[in-house]
Symmetry: C2
Subunit: 333 residues, 2 copies
DNA sequence: TTGTAGGCGTTATCAT
DNA sequence: ATGATAACGCCTACAA
């Protein structure tokens, strides 16, 4: 199954292999006539360049990998699509390498990268890679100066650019939206529940922080989901009117519903507002209203992609920047 | 950013490059002692093989691409995961190349493949690639004898193995389940609606066929979704008892709901059963029951993967087989 | 057990 | 405008 090579073409045409090479890649130094001759013969023989040889000779493959956990979450699927198109327009191939949060797979993918599997990479490590236990899978990349950037999450201690949603601002925006809607509907917020999981990753932490800050600014007491037991919550509600409502925030709908169910009944029976990210189905919930922060996946994808591409073009090491992308807005449902 | 090469190691150790090469790849001909020496020096220098050079020399890259439309559907996400693990275990890399059903992207991906981007590929063409208008993107693959197999769908006229769910059997199984449940609940089926879209692709066609055959076997009249107008449907229902029910089948829930709404009111007000594939949410529907055919994505993934891997190992052209994978079963909801 | 040398298919740097 | 030739880094008969 050996294909047609440059040398085959050269022989057929009575030209030197180097001339053929130049002709095919549009080098202005070849006579238009020969260029034409070469092109048509190449076409008729079905010549296809050998990318492996080209990559070896050029030292690059015009290929970028996006290393991600899987495709469950919108933040995993959508940036992948946008970035894919972005690179396609610029004549790069973006390939996806899912690691399923399996440290062995993650490590092997990064090893392949360091060995020249691609010119650059966008990394979305899973929880296990970020725990910092065991060895750092990123080491081979770092040591070889391989160009990569993190998207949405990052591994603490690794000096590489990170592109994330401005999650703190998003949390605050949700707080503002929930607060105002509750007031407008005659059931002002007496208590906010923070059902984010700050220990899990920086994304959760920033959202939690923003939500709490936004509520604090409006003098609404905030309790962690786990700590919402009788006394403190009771006090907050006692000082509120009979129509007082609560607001629960978390990244995903399921978490919010679960947190509400886990509340003491004095709380779970109160009118409630929900604040979530990206998706809200609302099918099995009885909330007075829901507010959904919509992440700008296209902007995120464009940001990492251009950051990385610039590094590839210039050959300079990527700046250790932290880029915060604003959300598109808060949708209400 | 140039890395350590075999020749660097060889020089350091006072050995020949070929000995180092053999040592690192565990060739039994090297003295255990030197093997050890080489290994430790390679480790300390942080040697990583250059995959581009290796790929060129060996004529293969131990890399397979899965070319798919995107990640909306379970049939796109799940086989990708399973196949990824399958190849990982066998020391192959499975990379995903989404084409978003854009013919230009699809064609370029296949071009890259034919140029040696990977050793083999699993293809899930989108609707536009299967329409057969314009040029056949698969041509470069076919002409170069590149090993590839289709998953779930295929392009008519291309001689390559295809792995699909046994959709006709699945359609029949759904018919059986719906028929029996309806009878058991005292509202026997008087009419079945076929809301599949046979013209769209072979998958839809096979499901439609199975559903119709299953219903025909049980003497239940079947109407196409579009053609369920007054007269014929009325006749079918007139001869049935007052508690008679209808059953609507399609691939996705949304299609079923839409088809029901489009029915003449004499029909849409009847008690209805639903038959779908893979997912059933049931949130905004008022069906008496739903039956969901669960595809065996793991078996599908394993089937294509092993088919392809065998071809890669043997070097023989892939057999033009059509492999039908049974569904896992019918779930009721 | 180790060394030698040619090849994998292109690109790029020289000359001519 | 074209040709010769050396990289690119690794693999692998074949020789020693």
């Amino acid at each position: 199954v050996r294909g047609v090579r440059l040398s085959d073409l050269a022989e057929e045409l009575g030209l030197d292999i180097s001339t053929v090479s130049r002709a095919l890649r549009g080098d202005p130094r070849v006579k238009p006539e020969t260029r034409e001759r070469v092109a048509s013969r190449a076409e008729s023989l079905g010549y296809m360049p050998n990318l492996r040889a080209r990559a070896l000779a050029e030292g690059r493959s015009r290929t970028v990998w996006l290393v991600l956990p899987g495709f469950e979450d919108p933040v995993e699927r959508l940036p992948a699509s946008f970035a894919g198109r972005w690179f396609f327009e610029r004549d790069y191939d973006l390939l996806l390498a899912p690691h399923h949060d399996d440290p062995r797979i993650y490590a092997r993918i990064l090893g392949r990268l360091a060995s020249g599997g691609a010119d650059g990479a966008i990394l979305m490590p899973g929880p296990s890679a970020r725990r910092g236990d065991g060895i750092l899978a990123e080491r081979p990349l770092i040591e070889s100066g391989f160009p990569f950037a993190y998207l949405d999450r990052s591994v603490p201690g690794v000096a590489a650019p990170v592109v994330t949603t401005d999650n703190a601002a998003a949390g605050a925006a949700l707080a503002a939206a929930a607060f105002e809607a509750a007031a407008a509907r005659g059931s002002p917020l007496a208590l906010a529940i923070d059902a984010f999981d700050p220990g899990r990753n920086p994304v959760e932490a920033a959202r939690s922080e923003g939500w709490r800050a936004g509520m604090a600014e409006r003098r609404v007491p905030v309790l962690a989901s786990a700590g919402a037991s009788g006394d403190s919550a009771g006090a907050a509600l006692a000082s509120a009117g009979p129509g007082a409502a609560i607001a629960i925030a978390a990244s995903a709908e399921a978490t919010i519903v679960g947190a509400r169910l886990a509340l003491p009944s004095a709380l779970s029976s109160k009118p409630a507002f929900a604040a979530a990210f990206d998706e809200w189905d609302g099918k099995d919930s009885a909330f007075k209203g829901a507010f959904i922060a919509i992440q700008d996946f296209e902007a995120m994808a464009n940001a990492v992609a251009s950051l990385l591409a610039e590094g590839l073009a210039s050959g300079a090491p990527l700046p250790e920047a932290r880029i915060l992308v604003p959300i598109l807005g808060v949708r209400s449902a």
